[in-house]
């Protein structure tokens, strides 16, 4: 397999390359997914555009309003180890620390992780539960997209071919918010999740649940927002969690694969959502 490798120094240069090569170009950040897909013959681009030399895409920085901006070429390991990210939410760094092994996390990058749209990945459910938006650039301009609208199917995003993810923006955490990320790994510590759950929750002063966001990984074609569970809990006391969990198996859409049958994963989605909610309500 042969291809031309480009390493633009600026975003403008990268966008120009994308426009020039169109469908024959493939963007690459850390390459952990791209190289595997190319080795398996699933991806055969004529031009690979490496993004790692673009300064504008780097960095993990608090925003002025108390949120966090993560650049597209921040490595997963950089997020995991970032004091700013840990300060923002320990659950965020937990989710990034759950990916594969340290060798992979040192290489893989946030933008690539999102663009790959693998429904079993760890960061996307947590970013979605934290209500992240994705910053996107093309030669046509700039736009922001709620992260739940990025992945549309297995390994498929709503990005146009001329667009580049430049980063992720996380809004300020509301006072009193609790967050958690749990990953069910029944075989080995080095695996994709059988099911994963990211949850955020905030109590109202009267002790009822003011707001919760629950996002499940590895149990559908994209990360799945358990909206019916969220709706059932809003304004309710935490004692209602047990009943609300019964809604979980119908919210998810898992497949039979090496990590379990669909029936088992549905049940495990219920169990692990319960465990995640127990952590954010206790």
């Amino acid at each position: 397999m042969t291809f031309d490798y480009h390493e633009p120094r600026s975003l403008a240069e990268a966008l120009a390359l994308l426009d020039r090569y169109g469908d024959d170009a493939h963007l690459m950040a850390g390459g952990t997914a791209t190289v595997l897909l190319m080795r398996q013959g699933l991806l055969r681009p004529g031009h690979v555009i490496g993004l790692r030399a673009i300064d504008d895409l780097r960095g993990i920085t608090p925003t002025r309003d108390g949120g966090l901006r993560i650049g597209a070429t921040a490595t997963l390991r950089a997020v995991e180890r970032s004091p700013e990210a840990r300060m923002y939410s320990p659950a965020l760094t937990d989710a990034f620390a759950s990916v594969a092994t340290v060798r992979i996390r040192n290489q893989a990058m946030v933008g690539g992780n999102l663009a790959h749209a693998d429904p079993a990945q760890d960061p996307p459910p947590m970013l979605a539960a934290l209500n992240a938006t994705v910053s996107i650039r093309s030669s046509r301009g700039e736009r922001s997209l709620p992260i739940d609208e990025l992945a549309v199917d297995h390994f498929t995003t709503s990005l146009a071919h001329d667009e580049i993810i430049t980063g992720v923006v996380l809004p300020p955490i509301e006072p009193g918010s609790r967050e958690t990320y749990l990953k069910f790994l029944p075989k080995t510590a080095d695996d994709y999740a059988t099911v994963s759950v990211a949850a955020t929750l905030r109590f109202a002063p009267d002790g009822t649940i003011a707001e919760t966001r629950i996002v499940l990984g590895a149990v559908g074609p994209t990360p799945i927002r358990a909206r019916r569970v969220e709706d059932a809990l809003r304004g309710q006391p935490p004692s209602r969690v047990r009943d609300a969990l019964e809604l979980v198996p119908d919210e998810v859409d898992p497949i039979d694969d090496l990590r379990g049958s669909a029936a088992y994963k549905r049940e495990m989605a219920r169990v692990w959502t319960g465990r995640a909610l127990a952590r954010v309500t206790r």
């Binding site: 042969t2 029944p186 075989k187 080995t188 090496l258 379990g260």
Partner: protein, 718 residues
Amino acid sequence: MTGVAERSASILDQPEYRVEGRDKVTGAARYAADVVMPGMLQAAYVTSPYAHARIVSIDVSAARALPGVRAVITGADTKPGRLGRRLQDWPILCWDRVLFIGDRVAAIAADTAAIADEAARLVEVEYEELPAVLDADAALAAGAPVLHPDAANYAFLGGTRAQRSHPNVQGQALHEHGDVEAGFRTSHKVYEHTFTLPRTHQAYIEPRATLVWLDGETVRVVTTNKAPFALRQHMSVALGVPEPRIVVDAGHIGGDFGGKGLSIDEFVLYHLARATGRPVRALTRYADDLQATNTRHAATITLRTGVDAEGRILAHTSRVLFDGGAYAAGKPVITLMPGDAMLTLAGYRVPAARVEATTVYTNQVPAGHARAPGQPQNAFAAESHIDLIARDLAIDPLEFRERNIVRHGDVDVTGKPWHGTDGPALLARLRTASRYGPSLARPNQVNWWGWGVALGVRHVGRGRASMVLRTLAGGRVELRTGVSDQGGGAHTLFQRIVAAELSIPLDRVAVSRGTTDAVLSDPGVGGSRVTPVQGSAALDAARKLNAKLAELGRSIDDASEIEVTGEAAQETHEASTYAYALRVTIDRETGSLKIDDATLVADVGKVINPVALRGQLEGGFIFGLGQAVMEELRVEDGRVVTANLGDYKLPTIADAPPLRIELITDHPGPGPFGAKSVGELANPAVGAAVANAVQDACGARVMSLPVTAEKIWAELPK
């Protein structure tokens, strides 16, 4: 003055430094894939997408026309060549039919691997799909497609192939001793259980690598094969080249675990080297290694055992059915079965038994040898069966084993008097060391934690070997061996044996490995052989040198040009026994299990390499743990779907629980200084120990490997 015995004892008591350690750590160690020859070409293969099909036509013209392609050959060029360790039934390239997904139909030699791969894609093969035999039972059906109709023409090395009851049988055997029917008639209770085991892979780190070139009349081979002299013989028969004209160079090997006794690339590379006049290399990708080499056999095992009212075994029958896949080529044993196919109730007193084992052809990836071939399957079945019987009789599973473990003079499942470990002593050590808690003190109570015990038995390796020891200047000696170290520490072992016996410092003993034209013939690594057989040859060489020095009245420091040949013929049938006690906790909502505590007691005889011995036992445990809880080479419609190490999961160190190891060293074995074997001692029994602990913890009984969380969850009392 220090006596010989004390001096040798002190050398062997010190932890060892690996003789090859520095080279491996610095990257200087040369592996087969590191060898580069001027003008070397790279090989690629065209493989079958069908489990069973007739080859209608092959068009290689587009591949031949690709710039950089130097040769494209098909089965028409290699016919009727077939390869194999005992039965040569695997075509070098297929010419009429393909028998599994991944079977090779054409081979390319090109300037680069990328060009070779591209050329492989340009070869057009027309197939006519045939009905496939996808499971072992189907293979034995009356109207099953016969996968090897020309079997009578296949070469069979060393002996004659036994008669078979069905043309799809690779090999079969029946053993019977005692009055089985009478045993069952007088039994208080008779139990029957069926267990199933998946295919697994040896999962060595280094994929296969092979380089072949012609040097005048000589065929030179650089390979990852662990038995170079055997490979030379296999190549000689398959290719019609006399053995002395084949030189095999097998240096450092990056892990083997039984898988690297079979080679498949050398044969086709010989044809490519002949066609091009250039060295040709094949580097296997891990995906190819997982899909198309020699896996551990999948098996279905039915055990039936009768016991008296006190739980003593009176009679036993078993039926073991192994899925051998498309070719039997990977099996070196004369019965064409995994080595320990017949050991279905190993380690117990069995007054009467009838054991039937069969290996069949199917249209699946071929099966061969893997660490303790046949034992993980049989040990899982037997040790689960024993536990189920004990529980039904309300006898504590460890106590049940104490009542039945074979003692000196007893007859075991082989029908022969036991010659090996003192079983009761072993179980007594296990009980104390593990702080085993009698689980039946809490009958019918689910505590979500529990104990599992399992027993394992492995023979001490047998065979013959020789190596040359000669004196060098300055009181040094050199041992020349044909053993390739696959990571087990063979060369370090030889160095320590020779130094201990000669009472000289370790750095005065050099161990060098030679190619097949430069050293005495060697049986290779495998069958738990290196320590007892090749180790004994090293000891014999040192003893002969000592005798020669005594005869000449010289010391090693002023000896000149003495050369002796050490020889060993280790034919003693001796067995080593080991046992596990594991404590597990079960997650009641998910079925996932955690091993809290593990104890292994192993009868190892004299310890020569203390660090490597411990490494073998710990590694064997983790290897067994992988097969116990996660490893499965899953095949769907003949296609391996776990075709990479992201899907074929192996345990990581984070998955390894604390392991307590107790060694029994006071029962000498037939190896040097009383050593036994440990390389295949620890892995087979782990699966049953886990399954038994799971049942003790939560009542769920899993009858197949791997014991996954979902299987446990499905069996949980609801």
